[in-house]
């Protein structure tokens, strides 16, 4: 069989990933630089019997995918900047009601309208804490388009498996870049659907009861189980219950189901890490420049620089970062923001004073030279 090789922009890699994962419902509102995802799915979904709807705003789009997910669909929305802010209440509702959904946030310069057509990574903390109240979240990203495809499939898998919103933190640069992407054959990458209850219709079904396998099997509106969903603190039956013991168990569940699985959820890549004396921690587009900087230092100076690319941004892979940075003389965190993941890295490594920061917030992609400037300062040698 000939391979399905495509030369496509990042938005298409994301779309192909969503389709591969079985996404059959998309609701959105146009915003640069995420609109291509909506446009692509508007064309692709109906061809497979899926549905696309353009809503009146991002709040409506978020609510709409939650409704469709309750009725059994694999759902997605895509947005950017101001639109991501508008979705936050709905993201919290999806966390609270344990409704699987994927939110692509194609990051652009902020705050406010900022810069619609240029790159940034300023929403890293917003992805984690944008919605009010204690909750946890999965957020993922990638630095090349083959990985954009793969991580998008994973985002759907994890949303379904963990009954949670998953945020794709791509950015303007990966969306508009064109690269070769090999679309795998069906079955090559595992596609996971939510576990549905085996309780026969007519018998009592509890939408939030954890079974012996640690799962909370779902049902769909219309499937005959007739359950209730609320954003109020609720019990295993889905009904409001504000008793302290119940609320305590609920909040712990919402946080623990993700934070306790941080190692399992961690997707990361290592470049030249085996013998690295210096480690660059990067995620998303930034990784590309980090790899170039590492190669330059190795090839031209013989200084062993490695790159740890975080594809799972949240939950933060603290154990892995600590372990991978354990032998480093210094760690450089490269981000296109004023410092968001750098503080997480400092929090987990043994010697936070050895963590340095390389950033850019001028809407320009961080360059290898930016990271090399930090390496020069640390190592005393430059290329």
């Amino acid at each position: 069989m000939t391979q399905n090789i495509q030369f496509i922009p990042g938005s298409d890699a994301c779309i192909e990933g969503a389709l591969y994962a079985g996404c059959d419902f998309f609701a959105g509102y146009p915003i640069t630089p995420s609109s291509e995802v909506a446009e692509g799915l508007a064309a692709a979904l109906p061809k497979r019997g899926g549905k696309f709807i353009q809503m009146e705003d991002e709040i409506a789009s978020m609510a709409c995918i939650i409704g469709a997910a309750l009725a059994g669909k694999k759902v997605m929305t895509a947005t950017s900047g101001p639109g991501f802010s508008l979705k936050q209440e709905g993201i919290g509702y999806a966390c609270m009601t344990e409704t699987p959904c994927v939110i692509a946030n194609i990051q652009r310069g902020g705050p406010s309208t900022g810069n619609p057509t240029h790159v940034a990574q300023g929403d890293t903390m917003q992805a984690r804490w944008g919605s009010h109240g204690d909750h946890s979240i999965i957020a993922m990203t990638a630095s090349n388009l083959q990985d954009v495809f793969k991580i998008t499939v994973e985002a759907f898998n994890l949303a379904e498996q963990y009954r949670t919103p998953v945020i794709l933190m791509f950015d303007e640069a990966t969306q508009h870049l064109r690269e070769k992407v090999v679309i795998p054959e069906p079955g090559e990458i595992e596609v996971i659907d939510r576990i549905r209850t085996k309780i026969p219709v007519g018998e009592q079904y509890y939408p939030y009861l954890t079974d012996a396998n640690g799962q909370r099997p779902m049902s769909d509106f219309g499937a005959g189980h007739r359950f209730h969903v609320t954003g109020l603190h609720h019990n295993i039956m889905g009904f409001p219950d504000v008793s302290p013991a119940n609320v305590d168990a609920l909040i712990h569940h919402l946080v623990d189901k993700i934070e306790n699985k941080a190692n399992e959820l961690a997707r990361y890549k290592e470049y030249y890490m085996d013998d690295a004396d210096y480690v660059i921690v990067a995620y998303g587009t930034t990784t590309r420049s980090a790899i170039q900087a590492a190669e330059d230092y190795r090839n031209q100076l013989g200084i062993k620089v490695g790159v740890l690319e975080l594809q799972t941004v949240w939950p933060f892979a603290g154990d892995i970062v600590r372990e991978k940075c354990a032998n480093a003389k210094a760690v450089i965190v490269a981000e296109m923001n004023m410092g968001q993941i750098v503080n997480e890295v400092k929090r987990v490594v043994a010697q936070p004073e050895k963590v340095f920061f390389s950033n850019r917030v001028d809407n320009q992609i961080i360059k290898p030279s930016d990271i090399k400037a930090a390496l020069r300062m640390i190592t005393g040698k430059g290329v």
Partner: protein
């Protein structure tokens, strides 16, 4: 259509009764009318989905033994749009408050009307924010006293019928909790209607609206709806144009959203291959 006796217990989650609403809260009467309408239509509980927002009124979803969601303030209609488009076989009903539907959810309301998606919106209009302690809503009306309008509301209010009509809803009706049988029959027609239907039911909040406006207890507030509303086009309007009209203001056939998406989009592109 159902020929069995109406038994309310078939449609409610009786373990949560008595419900949380205050004595004489009109929202309970709306709930009764809705359940009788569903019974009259002979709908199976499994085929009904009730999606509400946030407010005293929106607590209705928890009491009903259907596929139910109590969503976010103002966001019931977009959530319901997702449910309906995902599973057009469900009868989707959205009962919510005047604040929920016309203030924070006003934009969603007009767009649901415009799309003509087959959802029945039941606006439980008590002209106040009951849940949060009696602040004024876009439906309170000029001069009404509210906790945030101690000197009387300065805003003019929406005429929900005109709003729904202007936005493209294809079934638009108003009734009151005093006219409980009429409410039941109107809801029944609205659910039967294919397309977006709006039923405004003038409800009452004796606790917040009633006290602040010296409107009396629940029976007196119901009485007010008897005295101050008339059937559409009544001759009494000539003498007193301030009377509120009840009735079905719009009932027309137009392409429904889910069907249009299926026929004009999915079926067409699938045929092309």
């Amino acid at each position: 259509m159902s020929d069995t006796e109406f038994d309310v217990k078939k449609y409610i989650r009786a373990q949560f009764f008595p419900q949380m609403w205050c004595p004489g809260c009109g929202h309970g009467t709306v709930m009764g009318a809705l359940l009788r309408a569903i019974h009259d239509l002979g709908l199976d509980n499994n085929d009904v989905s009730v999606i509400s927002g946030i407010g005293c009124s929106s607590r209705i979803s928890g009491y009903l033994d259907f596929n139910t969601a109590h969503t976010m303030h103002g966001r019931a209609l977009p959530t319901a749009t997702g449910v309906k488009l995902a599973n057009p076989n469900l009868k989707v009903i959205v009962p919510f408050g005047d604040g929920d539907s016309t203030a924070i959810g006003g934009n969603h309301f007009i767009h649901a009307c415009r799309r003509n998606i087959d959802i029945t919106a039941i606006v439980m209009n008590n002209r106040i924010y009951g849940m949060t302690g009696g602040q004024y809503s876009p439906m309170s009306g000029c001069g009404v006293k509210a906790s945030t309008a101690p000197y009387g509301v300065p805003d003019r209010s929406f005429d929900l019928m005109e709003l729904a009509k202007g936005a493209g809803a294809t079934f638009v009706a108003r009734t009151t909790v005093y006219h409980a049988k009429e409410a039941q029959n109107t809801i029944k027609k609205a659910i039967e209607h294919k397309g977006f239907s709006v039923v405004e039911i003038l409800s009452m909040c004796p606790t917040q609206f009633g006290r602040k406006n010296k409107a009396g207890e629940a029976p007196q507030m119901m009485e007010w709806y008897k005295d101050n509303t008339v059937p559409m086009g009544s001759k009494k309007l000539a003498d007193n144009p301030d009377l509120i009209q009840r009735g079905v203001f719009v009932d027309e056939v137009a392409p429904e959203y889910c069907e249009t998406y299926q026929e004009n989009v999915i079926d067409k592109v699938m045929k092309k291959g």
